[in-house]
């Protein structure tokens, strides 16, 4: 049961709980108006210790579309942090005002620390490059909605698979679903870590550095950005940053029903011309991100019963 639970890492929820969320999000998508008062009377705190337009708007629109209300800050310098207040003290105070806290923080592990001291549930809205569990739920809902189920497909994860933890948590959850095969597409230097490959098992993945040679077998292509801040040397970043650029020529080799996903923001790993291709679903993904957050907030507040 999700009611009253915190979400710090994607695997905090069981597969059953995730499926429950995906089903509920599907109901909201089809009959959104029926749920517009579901969280009426609830106050939700959004504590954004670092700027993030997309995630903040996604959470806040989710809350408002459920009839809930929002308090919070979008920049730590406009809060009591600027007076030197610790995260733990802020959380203990806000716990008495709101029903749920959504926190985004540049330091890794900050939401976990917050959850130890909070009297109310915490949702991790991203802690540096560490965990971003609602992104994983967004990805799952996108697949569920656009492919009809989460089973029996081949997914290509492309780009920075070494440091990109979005792909790590997505892969770890997807491997629990039946018939999922992975193709890891990356330069040698940015390979998927061994411990994740060991969890997946040799018969369920293949590894390549060529997007062109592998795209034809994919049902889903998940592109990622190669992040500058992960590199110690500028030279190495410059050498690897344009390893993959998905354009219309490469898209011609893909299946007609393949979908292209991306957690956004993109830099230049997907050419703008691909946006017009109906298989490009990365902007729709943002829409599903709002719906899964609506489902998540409702369920945590104990409001997710069938109407």
């Amino acid at each position: 049961m999700i009611k009253g639970k915190s979400l710090i890492e994607a695997n905090d929820f069981s597969l059953e709980e995730i499926d429950d969320l995906l089903d509920f999000a599907g109901k909201i998508i089809t009959r959104e108006k029926d749920y517009s008062d579901l969280c009426k009377g609830n106050l939700i705190a959004t504590l954004f210790y670092e700027p993030s337009t997309r995630t903040k708007f996604s959470f806040e629109s989710a809350i408002l579309r459920l009839g809930g209300q929002v308090i919070g800050f979008a920049d730590a310098m406009t809060s009591s942090v600027s007076k030197g207040e610790s995260l733990v003290d802020t959380i203990q105070t806000i716990s008495y005002y709101a029903d749920l806290i959504i926190i985004r923080h540049p330091k890794e592990g900050a939401p976990k620390l917050a959850s130890k001291f909070s009297k109310i549930p915490i949702i991790n809205g991203g802690d540096g490059g560490h965990q971003h569990p609602t992104q994983t739920l967004t990805d799952l809902l996108t697949i569920h909605q656009l492919k009809g189920s989460i089973s029996n497909f081949t997914i290509g994860l492309c780009g920075d698979l070494k440091f990109g933890r979005t792909t790590h948590s997505l892969a770890k959850i997807l491997l629990q679903y039946p018939g999922i095969k992975f193709v890891f597409i990356s330069p040698e230097e940015l390979r998927m870590p061994d411990y994740i490959k060991a969890e997946i098992g040799n018969n369920r993945f293949e590894e390549t550095n060529s997007l062109e040679r592998s795209i034809a077998q994919l049902d889903i292509l998940y592109m990622t950005r190669i992040q500058k801040e992960r590199f110690f040397s500028e030279e190495e970043y410059l050498r690897l940053k344009d390893s993959y650029i998905l354009d219309n020529n490469i898209m011609k080799m893909a299946k007609n029903d393949m979908i292209v996903m991306h957690p956004l923001p993109r830099v230049n790993e997907i050419a703008a011309e691909v946006d017009q291709d109906e298989r490009a679903v990365y902007f729709q993904q943002a829409k599903y991100g709002m719906y899964i957050r609506m489902a998540l907030i409702s369920k945590i507040l104990g409001k997710g019963r069938k109407l």
């Binding site: 610790s86 733990v88 923080h105 330091k107 890794e108 592990g109 900050a110 620390l113 560490h130």
Partner: protein
């Protein structure tokens, strides 16, 4: 060779890697004991060539976690009536609290007072522990 008489009752911490004896002595707070304590350094050893050794003439509580972290190769002999009553072989502890610090500059523990961090052993061969907050590995 310096000779130290046999213990009648107490603890012998043996097979300490040369150089670790003083660290263990300090970490266990043996300087604060009023009992007789002997720290021997660089004793010739068939197995280790040279080793350190500590004898404590009393049965005190030993924090095996601290010992395991400093030198998991040591053996502990509990002596009673001049005889070895029990031999304890140490292993790296699976969980460690309050001893290690996270070295990841992006970890929340570097800016907040988080208290004792739980570290979990992830690789005994490389003696790596994982921080509960940022999941980065720290080597001993």
């Amino acid at each position: 060779m310096i000779n130290v008489s046999k213990l009648k009752k107490g603890i012998v911490i043996d097979h300490i890697k040369s150089g670790n004896g003083y660290k263990i002595f300090r970490q266990l707070g043996l300087d604060k004991l009023e009992d007789t304590v002997v720290l021997l350094k660089n004793i010739p050893s068939k197995k280790m060539q040279v080793k350190d050794l500590i004898k404590i003439e009393n049965d005190i509580y030993l924090d095996l976690t601290v010992l395991g972290l400093i030198d998991s190769g040591v053996t502990i002999n509990i002596i009673e009536n001049g005889q070895k009553k029990k031999k304890i072989k140490l292993e790296l502890p699976r969980k460690v609290y309050g001893i290690l610090k996270c070295k990841n500059p992006r970890c929340v523990s570097t800016i907040e007072n988080v208290g004792d961090i739980e570290f979990t052993l992830v690789n005994p061969a490389t003696r790596e522990y994982q921080c509960e907050y940022c999941h980065e590995n720290t080597k001993l």
